[in-house]
C-alpha cells in the first residue's frame, strides 16, 4: 500500500472513530445531565485552550489544533475520573462509570490516530501543550467537580465534532493532493 493510501485509510478510520466518539459522548452527556439534574440550557466557558479558529489556518494547522485540544480533553478526562473516584468512591461500577470509561478509551484511540497523522505530516515528533496538575485548579467543592466533569464531557463532544469536520476536510485534501501534507514544512 502506498503512503497516500495508508494516510487515507488512517484519516478515514480517525473520522469514523471521531463519529463514534461523538455519539458515545452525546449519550454520556445526556446520561450525566439527567443523573445530576443539570439544566440543559446552561453553558460555561471552554476548558481547552487552543488558538482560535481562523480561516488562515491550513489543514495541517487545523489538525495540530485538533490534536492539541484532544490531548487536553484526554488529560482533563483522566483527571476528572480520578477526582470523581477520589471524592465519590470508585468501588461500584455502574452504567455511568462504564460509559465514561468507553468515552475515555475512544478518545485515546482518536488521539493516537491524530498523532499518527501529525507525525506523518511532520515526520518528527510533535509538541503540544500538556495540562499538568499545576496549570489548573482542582474544583474546590463537589458541585464544582460535577460541573467541571460535565463541562469536560461537553468539551470532548465539541472536539469530537470538530475532529469529524477536520478529518473530513483532510480526507478531501488528501484525495486532491496526496503529498501536500508531507511536503509542507512545519511552521511551529
Amino acid at each position: 500500500m502506498r503512503g497516500s493510501d495508508l494516510r487515507m485509510t488512517t484519516v478515514a478510520r480517525a473520522a469514523a472513530i471521531a463519529a463514534q466518539l461523538q455519539e458515545e459522548c452525546s449519550i454520556l452527556i445526556e446520561h450525566y445531565r439527567k443523573k445530576e439534574n443539570f439544566p440543559p440550557d446552561v453553558s460555561d466557558g471552554p476548558l481547552v485552550s487552543v488558538p482560535p479558529p481562523s480561516s488562515q489556518l491550513d489543514t495541517r494547522d487545523k489538525l495540530w489544533r485538533l490534536h492539541s485540544a484532544l490531548e487536553q480533553c484526554h488529560s482533563l478526562l483522566e483527571r476528572a475520573i480520578a477526582k470523581e473516584e477520589e471524592e465519590l468512591g470508585g468501588e461500584e461500577k455502574g452504567e455511568y462509570e462504564n460509559r465514561r470509561k468507553t468515552v475515555k478509551e475512544r478518545l485515546l484511540f482518536l488521539l493516537n490516530h491524530t498523532r499518527e497523522l501529525l507525525r506523518a505530516a511532520d515526520g518528527s515528533s510533535i509538541f503540544t501543550p500538556s495540562l499538568d496538575g499545576s496549570e489548573l485548579d482542582d474544583p474546590a467543592t463537589l458541585f464544582q467537580l460535577k460541573w467541571w466533569v460535565y463541562r469536560i464531557f461537553m468539551e470532548v463532544k465539541y472536539w469530537s465534532q470538530t475532529a469529524i469536520a477536520v478529518l473530513q476536510e483532510l480526507q478531501s485534501d488528501t484525495a486532491k493532493t496526496p503529498s501536500k501534507l508531507s511536503k509542507r514544512s512545519a511552521r511551529r
Partner: protein, 1060 residues
Amino acid sequence: MESQPTVERRGCFPFTERASWEGSNIHSVDKIRGWNYWIFPPKSVDTDFLPPQRSPLSFTCLSGCLACCNHSAEDHHIIINRQWTIMPHLPNSPTAKPNYSSVWVAFVLLGISAINTQAKIAITVPQQVSLSANFSTQQLSISWLGGEATTFDLIILRTEFNETVFYDTVSAVLNQDGGQHQWTWTSVEPLECTSLSVKVRSREGKTISEWSEPQILEGRDLPSNSVRSMFPQDRTVPVGANTTFCCIVEEGKDFKSIFYGSTVMNVKRLSRRSYATTAVNQNMSGKSGTNVVCLSNDPSSLTGTVIFVGYPPLLSKFECETRDLIIAECHWEEGRSTNLYRKNAKHYSVNERDCPERQRCTLSQWDGNWTLLAVNPLGQYSLTDSAELSHRVHPVAPVKLTPVAHAWNATVLWEWTYSSYSSLALVCQVELASHNTMLGNFSGVGLRSAVLLDLQPDEEYKVQVRCGSQNNFWKWGDWSKALSFKTKPYVPDAPDVWMWMNRDNTGLVVWKPLTRRQSHGQIVGYKVTLWNSEENEQHTEILSPESKVLPVNLTRWASFSGDNKVIATVIAKNVEGMSQPASVLLRLIDDEPPALAQTVYTSTGFPLSWQHNDNSTCGYLVEWCNALCTRDCPVDWIRLDVGNTNISVQSADFQPGVRYNFSLYGCPSDFPVLTHRWQGYMQELAPSSSIRLEITQQGCDVVLTWEEIPLAGRRGFLLGYNVYISNGSQLTRLANLDLGTRTYIKKGLSVSIHKFTVKAYTSAGEDTGGTASIRLESCDGLILEILASLGMVTLLLATVAYFCYKKRRWVKKAFYPDIPEPKLPGDWFRTQGPLDVKPPPHSMVHIIEKPERDSSKDALVVIPEEEEDDGEGIGDEPVDTDEPQSLRYYNQVVDERPIRPRFPDSSVSSSSSVDSANTDVTYTGIQTSCSSLVFRSDSQCSSEGFQPHTGFSVSSGDRGGGYQPQMQPVALGGNLASPEPLVEPQVVSSGGYKPQSSWLLDSPTETDEKISPPPSLGSPTSVASTQFLLPDSEEHEEERRQPSSSAAAWFTNLLSSAKP
C-alpha cells in the same frame, strides 16, 4: 387611637418552642391566647394565633416579627412584616365614666416611669462585644463584658435589610476567667449568606441599658466579593432534616431560581444578592448526592452545592474469631445502609485500631474484648464482643484433597494450612454428591481423612470437606474445593426377567435394561439360555447390550412337548464379569385366563388388590400391556414381595383412551400362576369411531341394527347406545339402550324420510354417531292385498287340481297319449354333428327383455308383420348374440292343431333332433340370447341372468323383468309317467314364457345336457310348433296383484289345445 406601646419586642416566637416574652409578662404562646389584646391589623396572622381582643393593655410588635403556626400540615414560618399595634382596651362607651381613673393611671405611670429612670442609670451597657462564627455548624458565638447584669437582650439583624433574625432576652454564661458573658446562636441559614449585625444590652427586670455598638459578621454578599456562590457546600444531613440554602448571585446579575434536584424551590431574599430556600424533610440523596443549583439570568452563571442525605451508622453482628488460633479476625454487618458513599464518609475502628475495610478488621493478637466504633458525619455507633480463643475457632478449608477409591467405598485424605490444627480436636463434615447429596460427620484430633462407605461401583462422586472445633464448637469452617473421583466397576446385578407367551408356544423373553446403578460398569452384552429341564436341552444366545427381548419359539425344539418346563436364564455382562443369572419359567397358556375385572385409574395409578394365599410363600408379579395387543406384546411388569395384596400401578407410558390389561402372577420366579386379571383406562375418552348403522323397513316399522365398535375405537368402557332421530338440525333422543342391545325398532312413523343416529357412549361421552336414513313407504292395505291374492291363487289352483283330477283320463289322453316308439337305425344320431340350422327370418321370435319396470310399457309390444321384415337384418346375425333381446310376439296366432309330441321318452331326440320324415311339425323359431334352445336352463344361461326363479320376491324388479326359460324340464324330467302336471310352482314363480302344453316332455332331461351333443333346432324339415310363449304376465306388479290371470290364460290355452 394609637397608644404608647408598653412592650417593645422583636423576635421570633415559634409556636412549638413556647417562647416567652418575659418583659411583657407573656410567658408562652399558649398564654398569649389568654391575654386580652387589641391587635391591629388583626387579619395579618393566623386567627388561631390571635389572642382575644379584650385586653386593656397594648404594645407594638415592630416589623420583622417572626411567628410560627401549625395550622396546616407544613410547618411554615410566617414572617409578619406588618406592624402590630396592641391597643389598650378602651371602654365601650368613650364617655361613660369621669376622668378619675385616668388621673390615677397617670400617677401610676409616672411613678413607674420614675423608677425605671432610676434603674437605667444603674445598668451598664455591654462592652467588647465580639463575634465568633462556626460556618460549618452555622453557629455564632457572641461574647461581651456585661458588668453586673445577669440577663441581656440580644438582637441579630440582617445588616443589609435591617431585618430582625433574632431578638430575645437571654441569661448568658459568665466566663469566670475573663469575666465575659457568652451566648451561642444557631442560625437557620448559613452564616455566609449575608452580613449579620449583633447588638446586646443589659437587663435587670424591666430596667434595660442602652444597646451596645453593633458587631457585624460579614457575609459573602459584600460588594467586594462579587463572585457567585452558594451555601452550605457539601453538607451531609440526616434523612428528614430541613436544610436552608442560600445563593449569592454574581454582582450585576439577576437571580432566577433555585432547584433542589429537579424541584424548583420557593425563595426568600436575604439581601441584595443573597437568596435563600429551605428543603424540608429531605429524602435520601443519590449516590453522588443531591445537587442544589442556583440559576441567574446569565446562562453561563451556574452555581450550586451538593447535599448528602443519609443515616448515621448502624451496625450488627460484631464478632471476633480466629482462623489460625493466633490472630483475631473481627467482622460485622451494616444494619442499615447509611447511603453515604463519599470516600472517608465512614470510619471504623476496633479497639481504637483503624479498620480500612468496610466490614472486617484483623488484629494481630487475641485481646479477648473488642469494641467496634463506626463514625460518619451524621453520628457514630459502637458494638462490643468478648470471647476466649478456644471458643471462637473458625477453621480454614482443608486443602489438597486426595481420593483412594474402590468399588464400594473410598477414602478421602486432606491437609491443613496451619500446623496448629494438628492438636485441635476437629469434627469434619464430608459432603458426597452423585445423583443426590449426602453428608457424613467424622471427628478426631487434627483429622486428615475420612472413609466413605456404601458407594456405588463405577460412579462419579464429588466430595468436599469442612471442619469445626469439636470442643466449644463455634461454626463450620470453609468448604474445601470439591474433589471428583470415580469408584471402580463391579459385576452387574441380575436383570429382572419376565416373559410373554403366545398361544402357539412362541413368545418373548424380556428383561429390563440395567440402570447405571445396576450395571456397575459398562454392559457389554447379555447371555440368554433356554433350558428344557426334563430333556436337558438348552439353547444359548449372546445378545448386544442394547437388547432387552429375545423371541422364542418352543415348537422348534425337537424334544419339546406341552408338558416340558422351559426355563429362560438371562445373564448380564460388563467389563468386570457376569451377573448372577435371572431365570423365568416359560409358562404355557393352557387354561382359560381369569375373567377381567375393571380397575379405575386414580392419581396414584391403577389400584389393584387381591386376596393373599396364606400358603403361598412366593411373591407376586403384576404385568400390564395394551389390551389391543394379542401377540408378542411389549409387556411391562413390577415385582412384589410376598404378603402384598395391593398395588397402585403407575407408568409414564400410560396413555388416555388406551385399554390396558393387568395380570397378577403368583410365584413369578418359580412357577408363575395367573391369578387375577384387570383392565382399565388411564382416562376414558369418547369413542373415536362410530357404529355402522343399518336401517330397514319392516311393515310400517323402521328397524335399526348395528354392530359393536371395535376395541381400538372404544377408548373407554362402552356403557350403552343412544338412539336419536333427526329433526332438521336437531337430534331428539328416542332411546337409551344398554350395551347388549344392538337393534331398535321404531314404530308409528309417518310416510316420509326419516334420519336416525345411533351413538355409543362411554363415561367420557358419545361418539360422533352412525347415521342412516330411510324413505318410509306406505304400508296401509299391502298385507291385506297380499293375503287376498294368495287366497285367490290357492282357490284357483285347487279348482284346477280338482278339474284335472276329475278329468285325468281325458288329460292323459289329450296330453300324453301312448305313442309307439319310433324305429330308428342304431346310432346315427350320435354320429351326426350339431345341426346348424338357421331359422328363417320370418320365423324368428325376438324376446324383449325389460330389465326395469316401466309403467308406461307394462305390456309386451306387439310387433307388426312389416316390422318382422325389418328384423331380417337381425336374423342374419348369430342368434346367440349379446344384443338386447326382443320378443316378437304373435299374439293369438294359434294353431288349432293339437300338439303331439313324438318322443316323449327319448333322451337324445331333443327338440332339435326330430326325424323329418316322420313329423310335420314346423319350428317357428324360438331364440334367446344365450342359446338357440328356448328350453335350456344351464349354467351358461344362468350366468347371463336367466337363472330360474324359485321363490317370490317383492323387490326383484331387475331379476324378474327378463324372460325365463320354462321350468318343466327340471320339474318333470323324471316324472314323465305322471299324468298330472305340476304347474303350481311354475305358475307362481315363472317370470318367463311358459309352454302352453307339455311339449317339453319330449325334451331330454337337464341332467343329460352336459353330455348331450349341442342342441339343434331340428332337421331341415322343420317341425311345426304351435306352442305359444306367453308373456311374463305383462308385468310383475300386475302379476302380484292378479296372480290368477296368467294361470287363467294358461288354462284357456290348455283347453283350446285340448280340443279334438
